[in-house]
Every structure is written in C-alpha cells, then in structure tokens.
C-alpha cells in the first residue's frame, strides 16, 4: 500500500471524477491519458495477481481502460468513487477473460440514475471511501494480507488456506476480525 494524506487523495479523486466527465462531455484524450497513467498499471497488476500472464493482462488492461472511455456516461460519482467503478469493470473483465464465466448482476434500482449527481453526495461518498482506505491500511498486517488475497489473488478461502498453510478456521476468523474493525472505523 502506498500512503498519501487524506487531502491529497481527495483532490486526486475530484480530479478523476472531473477527468471522467471530460471524457464523457468532450472526448478529452488528455484527461484520459491522466487516468490511464494512474489506473492502467494498477489494473494490470490486479489482473496479473489474479493469474493472467503479462501478455493477457496487458491486453485485458487496454480493454478495461477502453471500456472506461466507452462507459463514461454511465459513471455515477454519487454511488462509487472512480477507483471503485474502475475496479468493478476490471473485476468483470477478469471473470470473463480469466475464469470464462458469466457474471449475473443484480437488477437496477427502479429510480435509476440522477442526471446530475448532488455534489454533497459525491463528496460524502469520497470521504467514506478515503476513511475506508485508511482503515484498511491500519489493519494488522496479518488481517490486511488476507483481505488483499481475497480480492486480488482470485482465491477462495479454502485456496488461501492451501496457499498460506493456515487452517481454514484461522483465515475465516481473521477476515471476520478485519471486517469488524472496518465497520468500527466507519461508524
């Protein structure tokens, strides 16, 4: 995990949200290049840790980033931060390309998406995302590693047990403890 202070992050995310809006409204390639510089190397790392070789990960990363451009009009910053939205696109690509499975999605909420999200909602969501990020960074090492493996190793709990040699019960209780801590931090 890289560490930055909260203000830097907030400015950064407002910037990402603005970049996505510039892509949506003006097909702004410079805004896209900035998003690409930050997120493409991380998406590629995520795909490689999920089991893709470098070539496949590179190819999928380009597809994920192209999807970001093509879906820019669907991004709702009151519901997800830029990083969370990009994570869901990368995760779906992983399921499709690496696991060769379909991903059933929940049906949409009946009221759909507001045309212009409320800035206060966008800000509140961003603050919560930052708070969660700091809480994850502050987890005891043993717990944090397991949360990262669960998301980034493409491993089930039993597979983590095999890989780490830890008993399944220990893994489950560490993850449970980690989630309890995160919940407590978000209160």
């Amino acid at each position: 995990m890289t560490s930055k202070n909260g203000t830097t992050r907030q400015i950064e995310n407002e910037d990402w949200v603005a970049c996505i809006a510039r892509i949506r409204d003006a097909q702004d390639e410079a805004a896209f290049a900035r998003l690409f510089a930050h997120f493409a190397p991380r998406v590629k790392a995520f795909l490689m840790r999920s089991g893709a070789d470098a070539t496949l990960a590179e190819e999928c990363t380009q597809e994920v980033m192209a999807a970001l451009w093509q879906k820019a009009h669907m991004f709702d910053p009151a519901r997800a931060s830029a990083a969370t939205w990009i994570f869901t696109i990368a995760r779906n690509r992983k399921i499709d390309a690496l696991r060769k499975q379909k991903r059933p999605e929940p049906e949409d909420l009946p009221w759909g998406q507001d045309p212009e999200p409320d800035q206060a909602d966008v800000l509140a969501l961003q603050q919560e995302s930052d708070q969660l990020g700091d809480a994850i960074a502050a987890l005891p090492e043993k717990q944090r590693v397991l949360i990262e493996k669960a998301y980034f190793g493409d491993l089930s709990h039993s597979e983590i047990a095999e890989q780490t040699g830890l008993p399944l019960g220990t893994i489950k209780s560490r993850i449970r403890l980690a989630l309890d801590r995160l919940r407590h931090a978000m209160k």
Binding site: K71, R91, A150
Partner: protein, 217 residues
Amino acid sequence: MTQPAIKHHLTDALLMAYSAGTLPEAFSLTVATHISMCDDCRARLASFDTVGGTLLDRSEAVEVGADSLAATMALIRGGAPVEKPAPRTAADNLPAPLRDYVGGDLQSVRWRSVGMGVKQVILPTSRDATARLLYIPAGASVPDHGHRGTELTLVLQGAFADEVDHFGPGDIEVANEDLSHTPVADIGADCICLAATDAPLRFRSIMPRLAQPFLRI
C-alpha cells in the same frame, strides 16, 4: 421486488467473494437474485466494492507496455460508445438476473418432476456449481439431505421451514456440511426456490441416493 421483511441475509463471506469475483456462476446468480430483492445486502455489496476499489487505488503498480496508451486509443477509435442499457427491473414475477437464465418469467419454466410432487429445472451455469429452481407443493417436503459443500436456498415465492428456521420470500438459507435438513413448504402456498450447490447433496434414505446421479439433485 423489494420485500419489506427479509430476515435471512447473505453472509459477509458470500458478499465479499461476489464483490471480488471469485464465486462460481451458480452462486453469483443466487447472490445477484437476492440483492435484487434486498436493499440491505445491496448497500453492503457497495461497501465491499469500495474495499476492492480502495485496494486497487492503493496497490503497487506494474509497468504497462510502451505503446499501451496508443493501443488503447486505437481500441477506443475502433469501437463505439456503449449504449446505456435499458434498466433491468422486475416487470413480472422473477428478478432480472434470474429471468436472464430462465429465458422468461415463471410461466415459461419447463419443470421436470423429481417425485413426490417436487419439480425442478437446472439452470445453465458453469459446471463448478449447480443452480436449480425448485418447486415444492404446499405442505410437501424435500427429502432429508446433508451437504458436502455449501448450499444456498433463496425463497422466491411461498415459504418453507426446516430444522433451522422459517424462510419467506427473499430469505436465503446458507447451509454447509454441518447441516442436515428437511425443508417443508408452508401449507398455504406452493414454494418456489432458487438453490445453488457446489457439491452433490447427500440424501439420508436409500431411494433419493439412487436417483441422484440421474436427476442431478
């Protein structure tokens, strides 16, 4: 399809694995169907997705190819913007993700009898787990069975009770190898469930066990 009184929800482990994208397709279908019916779990999923986004944002980066941005721009120029899909909301009696797999609403289900009035249909998912719709006539029971792996049972209509509790529309029961149970449909109405398993069920009596390989239950 929001139900006011769902009392059995998804576990953290299931929501986290769905968010991480590590569940077998049959389990993902069951999770997505429950979330379509349950605002609480929808909100909890958003938190788990935020965990994923945060980890991505703060993770170490690897180098992308020198021409990666240019290649991506070429992909973008060669493609078209994705049309915003029409909202997938429940127009009839099945939540949208399930309707995609059934290929229509409940009336279009091609049920197959498995005996004692119980009917089922296996849904087309990847083979690492099985999803099926179960139709249990009012008052009837599914034979006593245990589980080798995990079984998720989501009530779509009606209700059932077993040794654990009573399960109504939207409720999901998460059973593992420790649980042996005999779900019985409420007497008032036929019960329709979506059930997903990652290992064959273990029936206690000899007959269902013989039938198991043929019926895929």
